[in-house]
């Protein structure tokens, strides 16, 4: 299956609910009216774009409509599409050009870090890289067992310790093992932690430091795994994790549901962190690179 097709398929639910609504909105209104703007407001807010930012987008839309003398509803729609597209960063490839690369996965509990680790490993292995999964979630019961299954599914190496051991020690071991076995990419799965727990965030900062000390420039990618169903709290998650580990990107998971993941607009605005992958299912191949234009196009394509 082609990448684009898969992306479209994965996004179809999102697309249907967001743009079907937009589509309905646009055929409902023959002329640009206050009611039309109110409908748009509801559409944007129920996509989990913050009310404040939704108002900003709509104010911008009003201004642009006035300046460009837009009178047709369909042209107004195009304008909104442009505004939304410009509000999120362009796609960026992950940085794995070094001799030994480290991808660190961070996030709150239950967002899909372990699953994403397995999926990334599979993707990189298919690309001819040698990957090693690192079970640095030593807290959650059976987290290492879960990652072991993903190592088998993705055909990767894995390093794990006993539950309750020091995650930094697991990482230390993994680095040495990776060097001995000529591994290209280490994928570090960390324990889920709520971003307001200071001690747990300090632990993460320590993991980050250990990596940097052992391998120059590591972690080369620090990806925040974000559940697409997350509401406004997503912004606080991005803020806290960015402070502890300097995020280089995000993975937006569970995009095969009805959630729209609109919080990425707020995160983009505040931190400019690009989405690098989206998760669209439970299978090992259900992770696809994020492409902004495709993302936006797919969101709206059935409107035309």
């Amino acid at each position: 299956m082609s990448l684009i097709k898969k992306m479209k398929e994965g996004l179809s639910k999102t697309r249907n609910s967001l743009s079907q609504k937009l589509f309905d909105t646009f055929i409902k209104y023959k002329y640009i009216s206050e009611e039309l703007y109110e409908d748009l407001e509801e559409t944007l807010i129920t996509a989990d774009i913050s009310a404040e930012l939704a108002f900003e987008f709509l104010d911008q839309l009003r201004d642009n409509a006035a300046n460009k003398k837009i009178e047709e509803v369909s042209l107004l729609y195009d304008e909104l599409k442009d505004i939304l597209a410009n509000a999120i960063p362009r796609e960026e490839k992950i940085n794995i050009a070094n001799e030994l690369n480290v991808i660190l996965l961070v996030g709150v509990n239950g967002v899909g870090k372990t699953t994403s680790a397995g999926k990334i490993a599979k993707m990189l292995n298919d690309d001819g890289k040698k990957t090693m999964l690192v079970a640095a979630d030593t807290f959650r019961a059976a987290a290492a067992e879960q990652l072991t299954v993903w190592a088998q599914r993705s055909n990767s190496l894995i390093v794990k310790h006993e539950t309750g051991s020091d995650p930094a020690a697991v990482i230390f071991d993994a680095i040495h093992s990776a060097r001995a076995r000529n591994v290209d990419v280490l994928i570090v799965d960390t324990a889920g932690r709520l971003h307001n727990k200071k001690n747990l965030m300090n632990e993460l900062a320590k993991i980050n430091r250990v990596l940097g000390r052992e391998i120059e420039g590591a972690p080369h990618e620090t990806l925040l795994v974000l559940d697409a169903t997350t509401g406004q709290n997503g912004l606080y998650q991005a803020e806290a994790f960015n402070e502890a580990t300097q995020l280089s990107g995000m993975i937006l998971t569970k995009m095969d549901g009805t959630a729209k993941g609109g919080i990425i607009f707020n995160i983009s605005k505040e931190f400019g962190v690009p989405v690098k992958y989206i998760g669209v299912g439970e299978k090992v191949e259900d992770l696809i690179p994020f492409e902004r234009n495709e993302f936006i196009r797919a969101l709206f394509e059935d409107v035309k």
Partner: protein
């Protein structure tokens, strides 16, 4: 702290209203506009907010409010009342009323916390005299069954699973027979996380429900969920008739508006909230407490309850006596420290105190639990005599204590200074004005 932000916003709004002797219709509308923004920012669903604002406006713009002596207070009261109503009125307990063995089915999206909460609910039921059995029906997620087994081991509760079996109805059937044999009176059935739009898996859940005929069907929902919470809750409710909600990860800083939305669209009560990763971090949901927390009145009831269950009343009475007699020593201090630790993280406690929720300075204050550990180590490294008479601490004793506790002499000195200040303060409380003295009670 959940809802903290919402209460801050509402408090800002109402500060403006409080200042006014008389409100105009426009004042109320302005305030409600801010309430609307706050609720949306808290992830309460767009439509739910709309209905809520309508209900409040109808009440608040009435003449009795506008002409009352304290209109601001009146509006706050109405918002509070409506919030409580929306949150479900009063706390609702688990209802196990069908034939034994009872069963509780847990369902929800991936990563909501079903497996962890299966363990928590099992522990909760055992504390209430039940003999629960955990049933592993998550046959999809890798190691999900292992996870449940480990949790079961931690709390010493039996876990029923069938290796390699993918038919969840069969597992449930055999679990029931097993429970009858083992005299378990409640089955807690953990299921795989599933998207509400996954029709195959929703069908599986339906047949599991039909077979089990559970006493409770609990939808487990992440408190950080945004607008989509209503879609999820609506579909699960339609397919399997949810009887209650478990809101998880409430120890995060999410405002938790999803709780309001889900309650509003399903009509099912929120029965539990999850407040941590430990298996005892499960609390009953009290709509009135949550509402006062939303409105910034502080969650004093929870705080008092925590204090009462964690603090040994006898010991505290003795401590109070000692303070009154100006005999507060490091031994008393240690006792106090231990009791504090039993109450849970200090940050959580601070958030429950009225006015603390929106105290900007305190918000940035993070209590370092590690520092508490060092303090404890210092005191534990003192001899009994030193604890009772800190005055005898000379530099060689301090050096020994620093070494023994793995800290530094500076830290020991700092603690001693703080201790003597505390003592002075306590003395002032006791020798202060007569009225003050009779009123003073040791915090807990």
């Amino acid at each position: 702290m959940a809802f903290e932000g919402l209460s801050e916003k509402l408090q800002d709004t109402f500060k403006k209203l409080r200042g006014k002797g008389k409100l105009s219709e426009k004042d109320v509308k302005d305030a409600l506009r801010e309430v609307r923004m706050a609720l949306l920012q808290a992830d309460v669903n767009f439509k739910v907010v709309k209905d809520f604002i309508k209900a409040v406006e109808k009440e608040a713009v009435g003449e009795s409010v506008l002409k009352s002596i304290t209109p601001g207070q009146q509006v706050i009261k109405i918002v509070n009342d409506e919030l409580i109503k929306l949150l479900g009125g009063s706390a609702v307990k688990l209802e196990l009323t069908k034939a034994k063995p009872h069963s509780i089915l847990l369902a929800g999206l991936q990563g909501a916390g079903k497996t962890t909460h299966a363990g928590k609910i099992a522990l909760h039921l055992r504390k209430n005299g039940r003999n629960p059995l955990l049933v592993a029906c998550d046959v999809y997620r890798p190691a999900a069954i292992d996870q449940l087994k480990i949790l079961g081991e931690q709390i010493d509760i039996d876990v029923f699973s069938i290796d390699g079996e993918k038919d969840v109805v069969k597992i449930a059937k055999e679990a029931k027979d097993y429970a009858i044999n083992q005299a378990n009176d409640v089955l807690i059935v953990d299921t795989a996380g599933r998207l509400h739009v996954d029709s195959t898996l929703m069908e599986e859940l339906k047949s599991l429900k039909n077979h089990l005929d559970p006493d409770e069907i609990l939808l487990v929902v992440d408190a950080m969920t945004g607008q989509d919470a209503v879609n999820v809750a609506q579909t699960f409710n339609k397919d399997i008739d949810v009887t209650g909600i478990v809101m998880t990860k409430m120890d995060g800083d999410t405002r938790g508006g999803a709780a309001l939305s889900i309650r509003a669209v399903t009509g099912s009560p929120i029965k539990f909230i999850g407040t941590g990763e430990k298996l005892n971090a499960l609390e009953a949901f009290y709509p009135d407490r949550m509402s006062s927390r939303i409105l910034g009145m502080g969650d004093v009831l929870t705080l008092i309850e925590k204090a009462q269950t964690s603090f040994d009343q006898d010991k505290m009475q003795k401590l109070e006596e000692r303070i009154k007699k100006d005999k507060f020593t490091f031994n008393d201090f240690l006792l106090q420290l231990e009791q504090m630790k039993d109450m849970g993280p200090l940050e959580d406690l601070l958030g429950m105190i009225p006015g603390m929720g929106n105290n900007k300075q305190l918000k940035n204050l993070q209590v370092d639990e590690n520092e508490l550990k060092s303090i404890e180590a210092i005191v534990l490294s003192m001899t009994h005599q030193e604890r009772e008479n800190p005055e005898i601490l000379n530099s060689s004793r301090k050096k020994r204590i620093a070494q023994g506790s793995g800290t530094s002499v500076q830290m020991v000195n700092r603690l001693l200074k703080q201790f003597s200040q505390t003592r002075k303060m306590l003395k002032q409380f006791n020798t202060g004005g007569k009225g003050k003295k009779s009123k003073f009670k040791f915090p807990f």
